[in-house]
């Protein structure tokens, strides 16, 4: 399978990862070799096989849609890199 540096740039953009030039080069080679190794999967016959997402086959448990208070709001806010009053600061997204 062919993976080019352009593919790597596209994937890095989707993943919101800034990569240095040498990283792009490194990952182009490594992803090529990892995906090459994964070609093995194509030999598995999965034509009529359903995918497994929960190994126990469990259904989503539901709870009442009821808000509750977190015991220590301050502890959460203290971790935020940017803060104003009781809000987390974010850069402007709409002009």
């Amino acid at each position: 399978m062919e993976i080019t540096e352009k593919d790597v740039e596209h994937i890095a953009e989707l993943a919101r990862l800034e990569l240095a030039a040498e990283e792009k080069k490194l990952y182009t080679g490594q992803l090529k070799s990892i995906f090459g190794w994964m070609e093995e999967l194509n030999k598995a016959d999965t034509a009529s096989v359903p995918p497994t997402s929960n190994v126990l086959g469990a259904a989503n448990p539901l709870r009442e849609d009821k808000p509750f208070y977190f015991e220590d709001r301050e502890a959460i806010l203290k971790n935020a890199p940017g803060r104003e009053y009781d809000f987390i600061k974010v850069k402007k997204v709409i002009e």
Binding site: D7, V8, I11, A12, L14, A15, R16, L17, E18, L19, A20, E23, L26, Y27, Q30, L31, S33, I34, F35, W37, M38, E40, L41, N42, K43, A44, T46, V49, P50, P51, T52, S53, N54, V55, L56, A58, N60, P61, R63, F70, E71, D72, A75, I76, K78, N79, A80, P81, G82, I88, V90, K91, K92, V93
Partner: protein, 470 residues
């Protein structure tokens, strides 16, 4: 090596205090951890306060918990309110937990003393702790070698006697593989049996919190304490009542032919020591049968696609806004990209790239969906095998602990060191690695039992009888 069960009975019998126990372990850490580097942080103050509280309870004649005064280390991806949890990553280096993980709270409620947080591969991605953003941990059996990973710090801490118990997390072998490399017991409980609330998510369909200990009794005790049904974890389930086997005699044990010597790169000494353990189990009356798990060769690629895909999604939250490192940039998108580019290490980036690619438009069916379908085939292999046998027995790893740097430049070679541990997670089974002797060079070798979901008891029974047979 002192057992947790002995500490509890000595404290309950007032022969020793929890403060004395803690101080002894803190001294051992001081002596040994400069070289081993298992701990990222020792919680000296909060641990001392906890130990004093246990002693006050004892003095007042109040009932003591099942882990009274036992120092327990936790992997650095578990939250403990007011303490750092960094996942051995620069992106979370100064993160302070706003709440406590349920598994850790269960330890605290049982009067255990949380002694510190242990080193790991960044975000639990790796098999050697070499991916820690801070420093690698050394194997106590041979400090020129890795302790395994990703829970390498927890394994090394228990193996070096710096604490009698430690928690780790196992997504593809991250408890069992380091347990085997360091010579401890390592349990990967059934998916859903231990709450993951407060465990930083890596691959949610595979992650499970597990235990390191120096004896089978301690492993069982710690598991019974941390296992609970927790509404805060949507995948947590109520542990069903199961029949406890009377003994090893008559138990049917399967040896997968796909895992046998000659089928891959299995070290001759691993094969020999594994064979000796099989012989011991035969002497205890176990009945062996060869079984087949025909889709084994697909397990590794299916795992790396599924786990990396889930990781690329789970790690989306580290964006420099709500917590952790925040790199300054022009636009909001620049902040995201720079924060993540600077904050994540090479293996984490590699897996995010791998996962993002597998989930991206045009490749989803070929990779992610294909992996999840193959996972069904692997699970069916086990369902069929467990129709014939009660438990499956394999070496934990194909070879003993490797040297630092040996596999760093070749990701696929590193991934292959988890070849025997990964299928268990894909199928949601429980697994237990037990010490199975040492190689000629003195390196520990591990063997693992695999059992059906919620059948930990059968593995414990096998471990107990083997340990008592000597």
């Amino acid at each position: 090596m002192e057992k947790a069960t002995e500490i509890v009975s000595q404290i309950k019998g007032k022969k020793i205090t929890a403060v004395e126990v803690l101080n002894r372990y803190l001294r051992t850490i001081k002596e040994k951890d400069g070289e081993i580097r298992a701990f990222l942080e020792v919680f000296s103050e909060s641990a001392a306060a906890q130990a004093r509280a246990v002693d006050e309870k004892a003095a007042a004649g109040l009932p003591l918990g099942r882990l009274a005064g036992v120092p327990v280390a936790i992997k650095d991806n578990m939250l403990y309110k007011g303490h750092k949890a960094s996942c051995a990553s620069k992106i979370l280096e100064n993160y302070i937990s706003p709440y406590t993980a349920t598994a850790v709270q269960n330890l605290i409620d049982a009067d255990a003393v949380i002694i510190g947080r242990t080193n790991m591969d960044e975000f639990a991605m790796g098999s050697s702790t070499e991916n820690s953003a801070f420093r690698p941990t050394r194997n106590p059996a041979d400090t020129s070698r890795v302790p395994g990973g990703s829970s390498g710090g927890s394994a090394a801490a228990v193996a070096a006697g710096m604490c009698p118990l430690a928690l780790g997390s196992d997504t593809g072998g991250s408890v069992r593989q380091p347990a085997a490399f360091c010579g401890t017991y390592g349990l990967k409980p059934t998916y859903g049996s231990v709450s993951r609330y407060g465990l930083v998510a890596f691959a949610s369909s595979l992650d499970q919190i597990g235990v390191f200990a120096n004896s089978i009794e301690d492993t069982e005790l710690a598991f019974s304490v941390i296992s609970s049904h927790d509404p805060k974890d949507a995948t947590s389930v109520k542990y069903p009542e199961n029949k406890i086997p009377g003994g090893v005699k008559g138990l049917r044990i399967g040896l997968p032919k796909e895992y046998a010597a000659g089928s891959g790169a299995m070290d001759a000494e691993v094969a020999r020591l594994f064979g000796e353990t099989v012989q011991k189990l035969k002497e205890l009356g176990a009945v062996f049968a060869e079984i087949s798990l025909p889709h084994t060769r697909y397990a590794l690629p299916a795992y790396y696609i599924a786990a990396s895909s889930e990781a690329s999604s789970n790690l989306g939250r580290f964006d420099g806004i709500r917590y952790g490192l925040s790199a300054q940039g022009g636009t909001l998108a620049d902040v995201y990209k720079k924060t993540r580019g600077q904050g994540f290490g090479p293996e984490v980036k590699r897996r995010i790239m791998l996962g993002t690619y597998s989930l991206s438009a045009g490749y989803y069916d070929a990779y992610y969906l294909k992996a999840q379908k193959t996972r069904t085939l692997i699970k069916r292999d086990f369902d069929e095998a467990f129709g014939e046998v009660d438990v499956i027995f394999t070496p934990t790893t194909p070879s003993p602990a490797f040297r630092f740097g040996e596999k760093v430049s070749d990701p696929v070679a590193m991934y292959l060191s988890d070849i025997f541990t990964i299928p268990c997670n894909l199928a949601g089974l429980c697994g237990l690695s037990i010490p199975a002797g040492k190689s000629g060079k003195g390196l520990p070798i591990g063997a693992q039992f695999l059992a059906k979901p919620f059948n930990e008891a059968v593995m414990f029974k096998l471990g107990e009888e083997l340990a008592h047979a000597g």
